[in-house]
């Protein structure tokens, strides 16, 4: 153990690779798929899939002991490329995280191995419902066990399902659906189920038109008597009414792993804007002096320096939360700290970048305005700013969710 900011070689290599991918296969299509909102970006998907399946280069490989840090570094790089396209990566995404975290070895093999070969496929997680927001206890989608067929029968509506369209429309895709097996049990009754592409009874009824990350498909799903085999339930089926909501907490633990990644995504978008801003200012003859006293600074210099500090602060919080996972430490507090900071910081950084570039910043001729639109999602999904503040507050105050609401 030591305090060190020296990424290990695997991390550096992973970063370089992803940077190249971002430059070659993302940036050139950024505007196209911002405009063609719901089209599948094959120019990006195909090379990404080839790479992921080992055909297009080395597989993403984490450095020893720095697995999650490396994932964060790579994620930053890809979202520096394009956050919307990143979310359309042919990969298990959050659905995969859930299976990896809560599934049995058999489930992991069954649902994740298809992502290693064949045609591009997608994974997704379906949690949010029209009336539930961030409140898992309010989930209305039901799962009823049919003993006759040994199947779970799912009914309900899910919104804001990232990559849901890809997951259900391409063979081998999976959607992890949160549903309650017992509404009277609140959170303890919430379980997650894997629904595979092609399963009857689940359908995409539309994709949201969004402020940003328009390349990403944010689907609304309807489940009508959607039947999945018993072994598609992740975790245990029993509902512990007393003794709390361990199952739910397990589900929530997925967020402890995903929030650093989401924070890294934010950092990537923020860095895209900041990098471009600095390059553009340089082209215009404006250099940032790091040794000018405050009384001599220009307003632009101070803004840029503050943006750099904020971005780096966010990145370090992100890496810290990731590193704790690598160490096997509980990072619930730190993951939410990183996520809360990341959403807000990159929202401000990208908004400021547009402002500092003046009229040209506001124009669609550049991508900066797009990055501002893309960035804002980080303040909203995977728990809004407020939800993450709430989690952090409960932890630092040692308050339960019933005391601090």
């Amino acid at each position: 153990m030591t305090i060190s900011f020296d990424p290990n070689p695997a991390t550096v290599n992973g970063q370089k690779e992803m940077h190249e991918l971002a430059v070659q296969h993302m940036r050139p299509w950024s505007r196209k798929y911002d405009v063609q909102e719901h089209d599948m970006p094959w120019e990006f998907v195909n090379p990404m899939w080839e790479r992921a399946t080992g055909k297009g280069g080395a597989k993403l490989d984490a450095g020893p002991g720095d697995g999650m840090v490396t994932v964060c570094v790579q994620t930053e790089e890809l979202c520096w490329g394009d956050a919307g396209l990143y979310l359309r990566s042919p990969s298990p995404l959050l659905g995969g995280s859930a299976v990896a975290a809560a599934g049995t070895p058999e489930q992991r093999e069954k649902f994740l191995s298809p992502f290693r070969s064949g045609k591009p496929k997608w994974g997704a997680m379906a949690i949010t419902e029209p009336q539930a927001g961030s409140d898992a206890a309010a989930i209305q989608t039901t799962a009823v066990f049919d003993e006759a067929t040994n199947e779970w029968v799912l009914n309900g509506t899910k919104i804001f399902c990232t990559a849901g369209d890809g997951a259900l429309n391409y063979e081998g895709g999976i959607v992890v659906v949160w549903a309650t097996v017992d509404k009277t049990a609140g959170r303890a009754g919430v379980k997650s189920f894997v629904v595979t592409a092609g399963t009857p009874g689940i359908k995409v009824v539309g994709c949201e038109k969004k402020l940003g990350i328009r390349a990403s498909d944010t689907a609304t799903l309807i489940l009508e008597n959607c039947r999945v085999p018993a072994n598609h339930l992740l975790g245990k089926s029993e509902v512990k009414k007393s003794g709390g909501d361990q199952g739910f907490k397990g589900a929530m633990a997925t967020f402890d792993a995903s929030r650093p990644i989401v924070a890294a995504m934010a950092v990537g978008v923020g860095r895209a804007a900041l990098d471009f801003l600095k390059e553009e200012l340089e082209r215009q003859g404006v250099t940032i002096r790091y040794d000018a006293p405050p009384a001599q600074q220009t307003a632009i210099e101070r803004d840029v320096i503050d943006m750099e500090a904020e971005l780096q602060a966010t990145r370090l919080l992100t890496w810290r939360a990731a590193k704790m996972l690598d160490r096997g430490q509980r990072n619930n507090l730190e993951a939410s700290q990183a996520k809360a900071k990341a959403g807000l910081a990159v929202t401000k950084i990208t908004q400021k970048a547009v402002e500092l570039l003046g009229p040209v910043g506001y124009s669609q001729k550049l991508l900066v305005e797009k990055w501002m639109r893309d960035a804002k999602i980080n303040d909203i999904y995977e728990g809004t700013q407020q939800i993450n503040q709430l989690i952090v507050a409960r932890r630092i105050l040692d308050y339960s969710s019933s005391v601090l609401r």
């Binding site: 949010t128 009336q131 539930a132 927001g133 961030s134 409140d135 206890a137 309010a138 919104i159 804001f160 949201e208 038109k209 969004k210 402020l211 940003g212 553009e280 200012l281 215009q284 929202t347 908004q351 547009v354 402002e355 500092l356 570039l357 003046g358 009229p359 040209v360 910043g361 506001y362 124009s363 669609q364 001729k365 305005e369 501002m372 639109r373 804002k376 999602i377 303040d379 909203i380 999904y381 809004t384 700013q385 407020q386 503040q389 709430l390 609401r405």
Partner: protein, 361 residues
Amino acid sequence: MIDFQPTDEQQLVIDTVRQFAQNEVRPQARDCDESKKLPEKVLEQAHELGLVANALPESAGGGGERSAVTGALVAEELAWGDLSIALAILSPGLTAYPIAEFGSDAQKQTLSAFTGSRFVPGSLAWVEPRFDSDPFRPQTTARRDGADYVLDGAKCFVPWLDGGGDVLVVASEGGAPQAFLVPRDAKGLAAEREKNMGILALPTAELTLTGVRVPAAARLGGDAGADLRRVLNQGRVALAAMAVGVARAAFEVARDYAKERIVFGVPVATKQAIAFKLADMSIEIDAARLLAWEAAWKLDQGQDATREALLAKRQAQRIVMEVTDGAVQVFGGHGYIRDYLPEMHLRNARGFASFEALALV
């Protein structure tokens, strides 16, 4: 006497425009943004209200009642309805107000176009497509050449509605900004429809002026020229008021949504994090409005309002970002969706820091 209550006449104007904004403008806002088209019928309806014509001289068929304060009141209400449509509705003033105030007798003859039965848009080209666009010192130049002026440079954020006549182009002449009436089909003038982050429904153009030649009489005010600083300040007051209007719109939809949206069993508005955010919004909106009014009042007194207009615009452009961003936040996931207003408010809000003279009071 210090006072913050509109006159009875102004209150009538507010009520009328508010109703119009609510009934005619707001319902079109979302679709217009998506289709990037203006609702022509609404523009005609607005024209019938005489919002610009009332401020034009009686000699030109107008109401002869120009007041920056009244203009600010109108601008806020319209922008509350929708920013793009508001800018379109007020666009005749971009050409007509400067002519009415500073124009030569010959130029004033053209004003009656704006008081007729049909809506006629105006246009003013001020901002330049540079990160360091400087409204007081445009890089676009006007050079006297015999009986003509020759204009060179580039402009952006130029309202470019169908059916418009001359565009007033601001250019530096000997270091100071002056304005020139340029026909849209002038030789050397190229206009390209812009795509920006926001105000998508409003057709705006980026202009390139390459040796555009206009007669000396095309200079606003003729030989006397014009006090463009004053026009800029009128623009800043208008934009400040419009930013307040956008902010108020975002605040109101967020407030209403927060009261309706049930999360964890209670309306999210009952959470201090949301409620205090809304409280802060209400404070900042009111404060920004008062600053805009003060700058407008100063203009109406015929005083130099450069400082007040700057403060008003800066404050308004800052708070409209905070408020619209906050509104998206209050909406949560739905704030990110184009079915609701906040994301559009946020996109529109981001423009104010760069806008200049897109509307005048």
